[in-house]
């Protein structure tokens, strides 16, 4: 039952899918990493299995993400995903962010019906699905964001 050369090529490709260039770029050059002076909401997320930690801070003004920052420690997937998330949500309305969050979570759960237009760069994280134990690393930042958003009073 020796795998064929095609099989080896596929396995190599899977590893490259997990660690796509854009993911490694965010890992090496994180965006919005740090903390905000006066965030309107803040949440600390923890993945107890891996020990990954991500803290998300937001300034929400007039229903939009005016400022965002993250901090934390963990594997490249958890930290890159957080960095990519901050880029994706900055300046967007809370409604748009909720829609994006749902799209991202559906993609990570295995759905192929998600519009790649909505996801943009985040689509690069789809390769993580082939490594089921690492999916929680990729979704940690988004779960943390959802918790942070829930603290915000809905604007009338």
């Amino acid at each position: 039952m020796t795998p064929s050369n095609d099989e080896y090529a596929r396995q190599e490709a899977e590893l490259d899918d997990l660690y796509r260039d854009i993911i490694l770029d965010h890992y090496r050059h994180p965006r919005h990493r740090g903390s905000l002076r006066s965030p309107t909401s803040r949440h600390e997320g923890l993945n107890p299995l891996c020990g990954d930690e991500v803290t998300v801070e937001l300034v929400v003004k007039d229903g939009r993400i005016d400022e965002v920052a993250y901090n934390g420690s963990g594997c490249s997937i958890s930290q890159s995903s957080a960095s990519m998330m901050t880029e994706a949500i900055e300046g967007k309305s809370v409604d748009e962010v909720n829609e994006l969050s749902n799209a991202f979570t559906s993609m990570m759960r295995g759905s192929d019906d998600v519009d790649p237009e909505i996801l943009g760069d985040l689509e690069a994280l789809a390769g993580v699905r082939k490594f089921p134990v690492r999916v929680k690393c990729a979704t940690l930042a988004w779960h943390t964001l959802n918790e942070a958003l829930e603290q915000i009073e809905p604007t009338p």
Partner: protein, 409 residues
């Protein structure tokens, strides 16, 4: 005499398989060991030839199964030099064995005035049961700290105990760093002060010659699956007086002598602690694992692990950016090498190594407080056993270099 590792490898069917097109290099033995053909055969033979419930059957199969089950108990007793098989209780795993002591002896004896002494290197299995007990009783827990060599700080051994210390529990060897603890010395001090002493032997019995009478501990707990046996079997050794005075842990069939609608009296040791149909097949196969290890000789097992650990410490120590944890001397540690590589996260290291066929553990190893003490979120851990070779350590090093190149590109 050293082990004939090539011959040993022939006994382990799984070592022939490939992972992602590469030969499996299994270095996660502290999590669970692989199983030799002899153990697998014992399981199959039980189910094919004499599968039956034990202790109550009046037929041939039941008698055979009962004899094989109790023979396994006798093998375990001899393996750790327990005075009698009566003092060997089968549980599901080490965790359940420790919980058994916390729930029975602990509940009856620990009060709000008492202190339980643990160490900073506890596995959660020897931490949570005591934390729950202490919280319920209002008792205090104190932790023995570590030296910069990640050994227990026992500089003041004579004053280790306070007047209210009632119980001390610690690992025979640390699953995260490999550190072997001086349990004989601790036991001497504990005995002198009348303090109860439990040893978490999950990383001890598989790798070190254990003599519970020479150690002179009160309880010693360990698991079958880390020592070539099947999952689902743990062992609690306890001193006779203690096991006799302790109340049963679980109630049900098997553990009773006489039952009326008003109440019940308990079976003899050790069955008082084995309620319900036990894990018959796996206990019998565990007996085959004990035979296998006994034939190799635990002194030889230990010598092999020292040799391979020394080689691994040497090879890894020569790499730039490797941080090694645990004592630097291979004789002060078991076959566990815990490390971090540059600023790579252990999980990223583990994923790349996996693609090279190398199975290691990455993370906090169920020792979260210890990881905080070390100031890391986790480590990568290679752990060795009887079938591991120097060549496999070389593959580990090559795979680590590949990981560095991958993330550095």
């Amino acid at each position: 005499m050293t082990l004939d590792v090539q011959r040993i490898r022939e006994d382990f069917p799984i070592l022939k398989r490939q992972v992602y097109g590469k030969p499996l290099v299994y270095l996660d033995n502290a999590a669970t060991s692989q199983k030799p053909r002899q153990v697998i055969d014992a399981l199959v033979s039980y189910y094919e030839n004499y599968n039956s419930n034990i202790h109550r059957a009046v037929h041939c199969l039941g008698e055979e199964a009962t004899a094989a089950y109790e023979e396994a108990r006798a093998k375990v007793a001899a393996f750790i030099n327990a005075p009698s098989p009566e003092f060997i209780v089968f549980t599901r795993n080490t965790t359940e064995a420790i919980n058994l002591v916390a729930y029975t002896w602990g509940h009856a004896n620990i009060t709000a005035r008492d202190e339980i002494l643990l160490t900073q290197m506890e596995h959660h299995s020897n931490l949570i049961p005591w934390q729950r007990l202490a919280a319920e009783k209002g008792a205090t827990i104190r932790y023995i700290g570590l030296t910069d060599q990640q050994t227990l700080d026992l500089a003041d051994l004579a004053n280790l105990f306070q007047s209210n210390t009632k119980m001390i529990a610690m690992p025979h060897a640390s699953n995260s760093m490999g550190t072997i603890n001086p349990i004989e010395e601790i036991a001497r001090e504990a005995r002198r002060r009348g303090v109860m002493f439990l040893v978490d032997g999950a990383q001890g019995a598989p790798h070190l010659k254990v003599d519970v009478q020479a150690i002179n501990c009160d309880f010693y707990a360990f698991s079958s699956h880390k020592m070539l046996g099947p999952t689902g079997v743990g062992v609690l050794y306890g001193r006779r007086e203690l096991l006799e005075e302790m109340e049963p842990f679980l109630g049900g069939g098997e553990m009773i002598r006489k039952v009326t609608f008003e109440g019940a009296s308990w079976n003899d040791l050790p069955w008082k602690f084995e309620a319900g149909t036990p894990n018959i097949a796996d206990v019998i196969a565990f007996g085959a694992a004990i035979d296998y290890l006994s034939e190799l000789g635990m002194d030889n097992v230990r010598a092999h692990e020292i040799e391979i650990t020394e080689y691994a410490l040497d090879r890894l120590g020569q790499m730039d950016d490797i941080i090694l944890y645990g004592p630097s001397s291979s004789t002060a540690r078991g076959g566990v090498v815990s490390f971090n590589y540059g600023d790579l996260h252990p999980h990223d290291v583990g994923t790349i190594l996996d693609r090279h066929g190398v199975a290691i553990r990455a993370g906090h190893h169920c020792t979260q407080p210890l990881m905080r003490t070390l100031g890391v979120s986790g480590t990568a851990r290679a752990s060795f056993y009887v079938y591991n070779t120097r060549d496999e350590v070389d593959v580990l090093v090559e795979a680590l270099e590949a990981a560095r190149d991958f993330f550095g590109k």
